[in-house]
Point group: C2
């Protein structure tokens, strides 16, 4: 051991006195760089965090040393000192197989990308939907993350209330669904996709193709997202003066539901267009058509929602509403950046427009 005074010294004197410094084990530190550049620790720190403070030549010298040694700051030490982890927590719910989890892949990926550009990383953590607070609380108390991205504001989302009164920083994928039991409505930043507008697009698309009897296959009425989408169908129909009576069906989102509902609708109302709340339901509808010897797109038009892998692959291709998940992720990242910089978020809520991907089914 006894590594001598500094790594970068030209070995002029080599008069290393005593057992001063232990082996260079491990990555270089601020002190290592400072010794090499001939400045103090703090100056190196400034070179990294506040380069404007340094004189030009000093900065160059330090940067040179940093590059030579391949130094990067120890995150733990920085975290300890600044109380900032540069980590974003993303709760990861138990995957419900068969639903739209594939979508999340697009979303998560862009989120990782966007947060990386602002110097942050994404930390996954399991969140038991029953006891969601437990997971969040542990994260907060151990100061493991700086902020959260909440993605499941859907079903009643107690997390949002909890986080808000806990004073935690977070942004939400999903608007605050009118939740005014007590006190003011939530004011956290959020980004969402305008489902109603997407479904309205799909409905208009069918109307433009000459359809007049267009049915809605939705989710149960307790799901705000489903009701939002339904409103899009409703307004599109009314806007063009078309009747909606006995054309709206609700149920769980399964394929089997879609299949049966379609059979029932055809028997009762002979619709020529089916606007569905999800691709899964739309697939059920297409199966029902198939069972009757009908062809989607020729005999009856069908549209879905999510532009899932299935919609893209199935034959005939399923017309579907595609959410701009990449944009959502980027917008959320931007809000996070403001939030973390303690700057005001000028416009907390943002509603993005989805696009209609037209395929053979319509």
């Amino acid at each position: 051991m006894a590594r001598g005074d500094a790594r970068g010294t030209t070995g002029a004197g080599r008069g290393r006195r005593r057992t001063e410094r232990p082996v260079p084990e491990g990555p270089p530190t601020l002190a290592t760089v400072a010794a090499r550049a001939g400045v103090s620790r703090q100056t190196v720190s400034n070179a990294i965090n506040n380069p404007a403070l340094l004189a030009e030549d000093t900065l160059a010298k330090v940067e040179r040393a940093i590059a030579d040694l391949g130094y990067s700051p120890n995150l733990a030490a920085r975290t300890l000192r600044t109380r900032t982890t540069r980590l974003i927590g993303l709760p990861f719910e138990p995957a419900q197989e068969g639903t739209a989890n594939a979508l999340m892949d697009r979303f998560v990926h862009t989120l990782v990308e966007a947060t990386r550009e602002m110097g942050y990383h994404v930390l996954l953590f399991a969140s038991d939907p029953e006891e969601a607070e437990v997971g969040y609380e542990r994260m907060l108390r151990s100061t493991a993350v700086d902020a959260f991205v909440v993605t499941d504001t859907y079903r009643g989302h107690p997390q949002v209330d909890y986080l808000q009164q806990r004073g935690a920083l977070f942004v939400a994928f999903g608007r605050p669904w009118s939740h005014d039991d007590d006190g003011e409505p939530p004011t956290h930043p959020w980004v969402d996709v305008d489902g109603a507008a997407g479904v309205a697009q799909a409905t208009h698309h069918l109307i433009d193709r000459g359809h007049e009897v267009i049915a809605w296959l939705g989710w149960t009425a307790d799901q705000p997202i489903g009701e939002d989408r339904r409103a899009g169908w409703m307004s599109a129909m009314r806007g063009r003066g078309l009747s909606t009576t006995r054309l709206s069906v609700r149920g769980d989102g399964t394929m089997e539901y879609g299949r049966r509902a379609t059979h029932a609708l055809i028997d009762a109302r002979r619709p020529t267009g089916l606007v569905c709340v999800s691709d899964t339901v739309a697939m059920g509808a297409m199966r029902a058509l198939h069972e009757r010897g009908l062809v989607a797109g020729r005999d009856i038009a069908v549209t879905g929602f999510d532009d899932s892998q299935v919609a893209q692959t199935v034959s005939p291709g399923l017309t579907s509403v595609r959410q701009p998940l990449e944009e959502v992720a980027r917008a959320l990242a931007h809000r996070l950046e403001l939030l973390l910089g303690h700057r005001p978020v000028e416009e907390p809520g943002l509603l993005l427009q989805p696009t209609l991907v037209v395929r053979e089914s319509s």
Copy 2:
């Protein structure tokens, strides 16, 4: 500044003069708990990390204080001291839309769950496949993670070599594909799914149903995974004394490839069974059948690989090989646990068996 003696003191004198105590801002620390329990810092630390060292009543006292204050250790401080982040890095490649990314959801979720049970979290980071080393290097130098889970050992995986000679800890989803240009073969822990066995199952399934002319629709020959699966078809056919000549086709994995190849095969060889390297290719095959007025499962049997959402949803349902991704994740987590505990991994490699999910297409 001058944080005073301890937070837990009963305010006997209340003689706090001026600007003495800066409010107990922030979460409780070891010292807070220690004061409350009437023991030293270190004793509290031991209560958490090494409870066996404490006397029974002391332990109870400390645990009581911990619960009362709702204390959890500051991770940054612990990391700084122990050089252990309790984080696992998971590189997140640019999603290639349309391929089997939905699978990863199942995998990632179980991984999060399993690592949580061992007290670890999963950290996502973007990894440019071109410059993979950069991402890993940054993670390592800033001591951001303790280990990696590498999932893309597929195409040439330079990462594995790099990590190995860098001395980094990691486990791989995917076996080391015989890579012996120089030096010994990689010896890192890995878990993989026996694709050949899966395809052999599918092939046997078709043979048992009376099929004799069974074709293979694979990927290009440079993809080890594809060739592995192909070997399963080949061995199953030969094992039952069936010919394979002019029944094997290779190409990119697109639906269009599957469609064309199927048309060509039917014209040339009139197969009654099609074993496909992926669900996507199988969907192309089914489309070709449809175009010829044939029905999958009645006229010609088709099998896929991955048991994707599409296979489950499409009509007729697609028979497919399902990978035990949950088991893979758990096995990897277990290996990580050994690796991180510096215990020897008795059996570094593990090959898991997939299962065949039979549906109407066969």
